[in-house]
Symmetry: C2
Subunit: 349 residues, 2 copies
């Protein structure tokens, strides 16, 4: 008997089995407390010399934010937030030798940038529990670095992402995000852009504006404020996956206003807080999908995708490109909706 | 300084960073012994009633293999190998109600089959240490089920794969593979087939026949016998990844001769044995890529892809579809080549 469903992504040719038959409940995935490892944290205040000099530091001055850059011989230690080059960059700035990025149809140089955003001086201040004011700094740092790097002639895409928890690939527990600037647009973004363009050509509308209209009031709706909507996507690849969309059409997150930044901070705080309280601080990954090129302006809609890490992609997923998700997006939305509401209440009281 | 490389897959628009800069060595990934959990194993002999009746049992009779099917009320307990339906199938056989597989452009029923191949009656006989004669049974069971299922009118693809170790998604430690028959061709296979066709149209040659010629004697070569070649692919997504290819052009693994089955058993035994001794029994996934449709006959070449599970796909991989591999395929091949040679020596002595 087959009552599991196979669902296609809104846009991509990506199918997901919604395996209701497995009868898993979100709470089946509750994590056990992990005993924390000891050792010196290179991202904590006082240990700045363990990292390369920051490309951007936020300092507090008379209640305002002063922005600085460190020199090789000097480090600030009274910072609110730091952005540092990754010690082991996957993509690194070009030298005279490798200005030629593409060497052959199958070979290119990994020219670009790889940075770490140290989100707080407090070792425990992760987005799920952060002060809203601190999360506003984090988002502003994303935007500052995105603006600076997208001006480089060899940068075609900037990926901003976060790995939370050891199982999600975080090698340091101090709260941090990462940024990788690449000399080409990666596969998923390219596919999204192509499909966005053909949707636009057919419908004279942005596909995610369409999706937003549908999901803002349906069974997969999770949360909204004046500027953002959160929902579990129709063909969620990951259990408890959710997407955060700006209500106003914008292809590039640099278009955000100050009010939108504040509302994004609230949205991330509440939704990641809800996920944390629902599953006892599970590991997760998130990634911003934003496009730099001008020809995306009308057809693409930037957004944030959050992937809780509750399942293992195994032989089937890896050899077929088809995914198995054991929680339906509708059940995921129901659980997350009440967890986020409880979080909002706790924050307001 | 960027000396990391970005490499494109032979065929797909899939790019990988070969991050030599991280200076990882294959032995950096050596696993620690995991303490084994207790409890009753439902796949061990004597516990057959804990599973659904087998769709295929291999029994030994006068040195030959007798093939049987179990009934609801009866189980064999003197088996060499069993194939049973998965208790929680992701794809399940059709009923009268859901003969209509595709309900809308975004929705289909998960009609198909999901089976477990119990590879041995011995709880410890994994392919890396198995008797060759037992591995021949395993491959023959793959072929028997592939032949039976590919005749069903609603089956368009059969995926045969294996998850080894808890971290690779294996929920039971008794050696087993799985088979999932789907009512459509999954994304990766479809992309491969499309690209194979256009390569054929341009070159009147199979792309993997071409690749085989190149890799059979280069820096990524690992092992060969009369009928199979093993190498680390040029743009390996996973550290220590290797592919096993039949030398004779075949699009569907059902075309294998008896001698080829024996040579495949030897190849799997030695390469998985080499991987095991190199990294102290690491988790891995493998998947067969084989195509059923007749129009693949000339252009497609079936093969086995083995993915050691030594890295975590995190926020970057998941949101961009671009992968980071910290071991170059050339280094991987060097290490695997000597490990496989040592394994061959040990097996011959």
């Amino acid at each position: 008997m087959a009552s599991n469903e196979v669902r296609k992504d809104y846009l991509l040719n990506r199918w997901v089995v919604i395996a209701k038959e497995r009868k898993k409940r979100p709470t089946d995935f509750v994590m056990n407390d992990l005993s924390k490892k000891g050792g010196v944290c290179p991202l904590c205040p006082g240990n700045e010399n363990m990292t390369p000099p920051a490309v951007l530091v936020y300092l507090s001055e008379d209640g305002k934010v002063r922005k600085e850059k460190e020199k090789n011989s000097f480090r600030y230690n009274d910072w609110l937030l730091r952005v540092i080059p990754n010690l082991y960059p996957v993509f690194a700035p070009p030298t005279q030798k490798n200005l030629l990025i593409k060497e052959s149809p199958e070979l290119a140089k990994a020219v670009g940038h790889h940075e770490v955003i140290v989100e707080s001086s407090c070792h425990k201040e992760q987005p799920a529990t952060a002060r809203l004011s601190q999360l506003v700094h984090v988002i502003n740092a994303y935007l500052d670095r995105l603006a600076a790097l997208s001006k480089k002639p060899y940068v075609k895409h900037v990926s901003i992402f976060r790995n939370h928890g050891h199982e999600a690939g975080a090698s340091l527990s101090h709260p941090h995000s990462q940024l990788i600037a690449t000399p080409f647009v990666p596969a998923i973004l390219e596919e999204e852009l192509e499909a966005s363009k053909s949707f636009w050509n057919k419908n004279s509308e942005c596909w995610l504006c369409e999706v937003l209209k549908k999901e803002a009031s349906g069974p997969r709706f999770i949360w909204e404020n004046s500027n953002f909507v959160v929902f579990a996507p129709w063909a969620s690849v990951n259990p408890l996956e959710f997407w955060v969309l700006p209500k106003r059409h914008q292809s590039n997150m640099l278009a955000m206003s100050g009010d939108e930044v504040k509302d994004l901070a609230e949205t991330m705080r509440l939704c990641l807080g809800g996920l944390r309280s629902l599953l006892n601080d599970p590991p997760y990954n998130f990634g911003f999908h934003t496009i730099l090129s001008e020809d995306a302006k009308d057809c693409y809609h930037w957004h944030l995708e959050v992937y809780p890490r509750l399942a293992i992609w195994a032989g089937f997923e890896k050899s077929t490109g088809m995914f198995i998700n054991t929680i339906s997006p509708e059940d995921a939305a129901t659980e997350l909706r009440s967890a986020v509401q409880a979080e909002k209440k706790a924050l307001t009281v």
